[in-house]
Amino acid sequence: MCATMNKILSSIKLYLHYVSINIRSMMQYKTSFFLTTIGQFMISFNVFLGIFFMFLRFSSVEGFSYNEVLLCFAIILLEFTMAEIFARGFDLFPSVVRSGEFDRIMVRPQNEIIQVLGSKFELTRIGRMLQAVVMFAYGIAKSNITWDIPKILTVFFMLISGACVFFGLFLIYAALCFFTLDGLEFMNVFTDGAKEFGKYPMGIYGEKILLFATFVIPYTLVQYYPLLYLLGRRTSALYVFLPLCACLFLIPAMLLWKYGVSHYASSGS
């Protein structure tokens, strides 16, 4: 027990060391950092404008008001952005496999996942984070939710589990690179695509999408259903913990990753 605790603590310490060296590297290129950060802000600000102008003409989408949609978009954007800040190394993984850098990871006495996580800490996404936080605050202030502890917990679980779902997708993307040696752009349908689709509550897309987004890739568990609970349209306490189920998605993602690593060990390319 104590040994595993120590192991976890030293892993966290190692990860923080990676983060610090990433930030030190980044500080070498100030201009690039600021421009990328501003760019990231502008991109999601554009999407926000899209929602804003649409609601100038229509007052609600399938019974969701402007403020509620903003809250929904802010939450999925926060989830995605967190995953990208921490797990960008997996997004950049094709070049790691192609260049043979993965060999270096294999000859170091640490878990492969923590090394890939540490290889890139994408602080420039803080621009998008800022956009998401502002919308989040605005959505919360305006959406007439009566806050209590279960609801605060729900939001917390949504954010954590949502980041896990996107992390799982990045992990799957990276694992597939072991077989294709190349990035699979179609995976962006599930990551960037979910970020775009996710600006509206998933329920509005119809039943088939809802089923897919619940049982295949559990977006709705971190977006639609807990949102209904937040807005008071569902009352069962089950909805508070529903987002945590989405974390189970990490299990198949990890298994695929392990399989990918063992494939790499046998094919070596």
Partner: protein
């Protein structure tokens, strides 16, 4: 001690003829060719030996290094390094070895070299005392004092290689794999690197396995030479066995390659 017994490893490689049409055809139906990177490779290396592992490009050198360093799993055969099976318990194994890939850097490009070393200290869980001592020793032996505070991108290739070697030795591995450590270096840097490797082997008794195309490296360093070609061990002996009185080592090796029909 390192033993490899009857180790085989083959890869499947997609093949097609030149041209756009052939590329389209290959999208639908792909022909594979099996490449036998290693076939029935066996050797034993004692502690503290210095091995020159040579052979033409594509002979199977890097496959061997990858198997011994736990990156690749062989198709068949047994591999033991100090009693460990490298590919079975990777993490335990790699904490006891050091690997230098001459063509790839392990230093962080934009931060001072000493920052990369500090990260390695955490990666290898080196104690403060041991880290301090290793760093001091390596700084003196490889003359790193002026380099440690510069970012890796500002170092010359020779300076960087000295730092790379130091980075691979901070955790005091018992075995050091050097994959073309002198590639692209100028004469002075080459001599410095060779001199250090020799000292490391003599003083710390580190087992060194060196792959290189530079025969002067072999002449200066290796007490024993293993020649591999087309995935088979062709020769295993001392430098004198290979030279047989011939003075020019490059000439000798070229003749050797030709005589085995592996050039």
């Amino acid at each position: 001690m390192i033993t490899m017994e009857h180790v085989c490893k083959s890869y499947k490689i997609a093949k097609r003829n030149a041209g756009f049409r052939e590329a389209c055809k290959a999208l639908v139906h792909r022909e594979y060719e099996t490449i036998h990177a290693l076939s029935d490779v066996s050797f034993t290396i004692q502690d503290g030996e210095m091995i020159g592992y040579i052979g033409p490009n594509g002979a199977g050198k890097s496959s061997t290094i990858k198997i011994l360093s736990g990156i690749l799993t062989p198709d068949s055969g047994t591999v033991l390094v100090d009693g460990r099976v490298p590919y079975r318990n990777r993490i335990e194994h790699v904490s006891q070895i050091g690997v230098v890939f001459g063509q790839r850097s392990q230093l962080w490009w934009d931060v001072p070299v000493i920052d990369s070393f500090a990260l390695l200290k955490d990666i290898y869980s080196i104690s403060n005392a041991q880290y301090k001592q290793s760093l001091e020793e390596l700084t003196v032996l490889l003359d790193l004092k002026e380099l440690l505070r510069s970012p890796a991108r500002q170092l010359s290739l020779g300076q960087r290689m000295r730092c790379e070697i130091a980075a691979s030795l901070l955790h005091r591995p018992r075995i050091l794999f050097l994959d073309e450590p002198t590639i692209g270096l100028d004469a002075v840097s080459k001599l410095a690197v060779r001199d250090f490797i020799l000292k490391q082997n003599q003083i710390a008794k580190t087992t060194v396995i060196l792959t290189t195309h530079d025969m002067q490296d072999i002449e200066a360093l290796a007490s024993r030479i293993i020649l591999i070609g087309k995935g088979r061990i062709l020769l295993d002996g001392t430098l004198d066995d290979i030279k047989k009185g011939n003075d020019d080592i490059d000439q000798t090796i070229a003749e050797l390659y030709r005589s085995y029909d592996i050039s």
